[in-house]
């Protein structure tokens, strides 16, 4: 299997700010790779460089085996981009949005019309095709942006927070369509704040923060490696943490304070349960739950607000 994107020591600097600090990764063909990271982590800068929308500062970046760069129209012709912001054309109808975008790619009007009808049906927008874009709901606009990004049958689809602000139904529809595209062999690069989205869709997740890759692997690998399978949430005053952790000892592999909760990740869950049972005073509230990608994310990137 070949790699669609290969980055080595990739760096992006804006003046004094170094947004991406020498990261290396590959995106294999046909897989879905998720970029996870807080706002300002460097995700958007990285995908802008891959999309040939931003020059790289140093390092190397190849897309489809060619060096990426802002004049690389031949690379852009093979990429579909769903930007974070709404970039629909407000002066045009739904179908005109798709047809004009096809023009930008040099697709003949005849072929574009067939493709546009097909994609409007795929995104369940066919009955709205003559409407003005400004009349659409947020979920519909998002679906239209995705449909537009597919007009030229891209081999790599890049989505920057595709479901931010969508209701659960709209989100499910977007996920379903992305899964279907993956089934058709489209390589997908996705950034998201939603860990559920990342676990459901991505084959590989890269946790990025402060311009660096903190961890990479399949969602299950990351969970296994960073936090283990189970977590225990204990409600108790923070002052008691040290004593409790001392008592739990080697049964805990990692712990984390989340407001009024102490979260301990089990090294060995049987052991942990046994030691908790030995406690003279039981904590006010105690919950054992399976871990998920969010635990990995918060453990690696910390809890401080970024904006």
């Amino acid at each position: 299997m070949s790699d669609v994107v290969v980055a080595q020591g990739l760096t992006k600097r804006y003046g004094a700010l170094e947004a991406v600090k020498g990261i290396s990764f590959t995106i294999p063909q046909g897989l879905c790779v998720g970029f996870l990271g807080p706002n300002g982590a460097g995700k958007s800068s990285t995908i802008r460089m891959i999309s040939c929308l931003s020059p790289i500062t140093s390092g190397t970046l190849t897309v489809f085996g060619e060096a990426a760069g802002i004049s690389r129209s031949q690379i852009k012709a093979r990429i579909g981009v769903v930007a974070q912001e709404d970039t629909l054309d407000p002066d045009l109808s739904l179908i005109e949005n798709l047809l004009i975008y096809a023009r930008y790619f040099g697709i003949s009007p005849h072929r574009a019309t067939g493709r546009a009808e097909e994609l409007l049906a795929f995104m369940q927008l066919a009955d709205r095709k003559r409407d003005q874009v400004r009349e659409l709901s947020g979920g519909m606009r998002r679906r239209l942006v995705i449909a537009r990004a597919l007009m030229h049958r891209p081999e790599l689809l890049i989505l920057d927070e595709p479901t931010t602000g969508l209701d659960p139904q709209a989100r499910l529809l977007v996920w379903e369509s992305l899964r279907q595209l993956k089934g058709e062999g489209v390589t997908i690069l996705l950034t998201t704040h939603y860990m559920e989205e990342a676990s459901r869709l991505s084959d590989t997740a890269l946790v990025i923060d402060h311009g660096r890759i903190l961890a990479a692997g399949t969602p299950l690998d990351l969970i296994e490696r960073e936090v283990g399978a189970e977590a225990m949430e204990i409600a108790q005053p923070q002052a008691d943490d040290a004593a409790l952790l001392d008592h739990l000892g080697a049964a805990v592999r990692r712990h984390d304070r989340q407001g009024e909760l102490l979260v301990v990740y089990a090294a060995n869950s049987g052991d942990l349960t046994a030691r908790v049972a030995e406690l003279a005073v039981r904590p006010r509230q105690l919950l054992i739950r399976p871990t998920h990608l969010e635990d990995v994310f918060l453990t690696l990137t910390g809890r401080g607000l970024r904006e």
Binding site: S51, L53, P55, I70, A77, E85, L88, R103, R148
Partner: protein, 256 residues
């Protein structure tokens, strides 16, 4: 980039603008003609009644070609200014274009092509109006599309640059009220430039609008001679320089 690629890209951008224009062309036509035609009638017929002759012709005759040039200039300046500002800031029209294979030079070429067409269209309609008043005296007027097409570069380029640099809508108005309007008042639309103090007259001869006004007047009246060639060379020279002006500002906004 090959000329062929540039042309294909420019045409796609032109098409986008045309599709959008189809939706609001009625108001656009109205807005672009209300003012110049009022100016022509009020000043030409009203004020003109009190002005005996100007450079050997009626005042009405004198100001008609100048107002034609100004109509075209305003049509491209306001469109290139406001629309471009919105395409960069309020909606993602350029952002969507730049994710396609289109490059900044192709986008700019498309905008120039579009504004040239606007200049030609609005100039042509104004011309019909002027012709209806019997103010066209020469077949040379058929060459008016030359200064009109050049207007589509000369006044689009700075407006695109200002729109790419402006942080707010108000900053666009600085350009309109501090550059475009004064140029309109002193470039020989309402009175011959040689009546100005010498230093100011010399300054005015460096303004592009002065040359589009002169050239339009010469063509409309059939005053064909060396000045026609000189005006044309000035305009071509300006166009060749100005056409590059917005590129860097656009690249900083779209592909940084």
């Amino acid at each position: 980039m090959s000329v062929q690629a540039l042309r294909a890209g420019a045409f796609a951008v032109w098409m986008r603008n045309f599709w959008a224009w189809r939706r609001y062309y009625r108001s656009s036509l109205l807005l672009n003609f209300g003012e110049p035609i009022t100016n022509l009638l009020a000043l030409g017929l009203g004020l003109g009644a009190y002005v005996a002759r100007m450079d050997g012709m009626s005042f009405f005759q004198f100001i008609a070609p100048g107002l034609l040039s100004v109509t075209a200039m305003n049509a491209v300046t306001f469109d290139a200014g406001f629309e471009t500002y919105d395409k960069l800031n309020s909606n993602g029209v350029y952002q969507a274009m730049i994710t396609s294979p289109l490059t900044v030079p192709q986008i700019l070429a498309g905008e120039y092509l579009w504004e040239m067409c606007r200049s030609l269209l609005y100039g042509a309609i104004f011309f019909l109006f002027v012709a209806a008043f019997g103010l066209v005296h020469s077949w040379w007027a058929l060459l008016l599309p030359v200064p009109l097409a050049l207007t589509g570069i000369l006044f689009t380029a700075p407006a695109l640059w200002v729109a790419a640099r402006a942080r707010t809508h108000e900053q666009l108005f600085y350009y309109f009220t501090l550059v475009i309007t004064p140029m309109f008042m002193i470039s020989g639309v309402f009175f011959p430039v040689h009546t100005l103090p010498a230093a100011l007259a010399t300054f005015v001869r460096f303004l592009p609008l002065y040359h589009t006004v002169q050239l339009s007047r010469e063509l409309l009246l059939g005053q064909i001679g060396l000045p026609v060639l000189i005006n044309l060379l000035w305009l071509l020279g300006y166009a060749l320089v100005l056409v590059w002006v917005p590129r860097r500002a656009f690249e900083q906004r779209l592909v940084a």
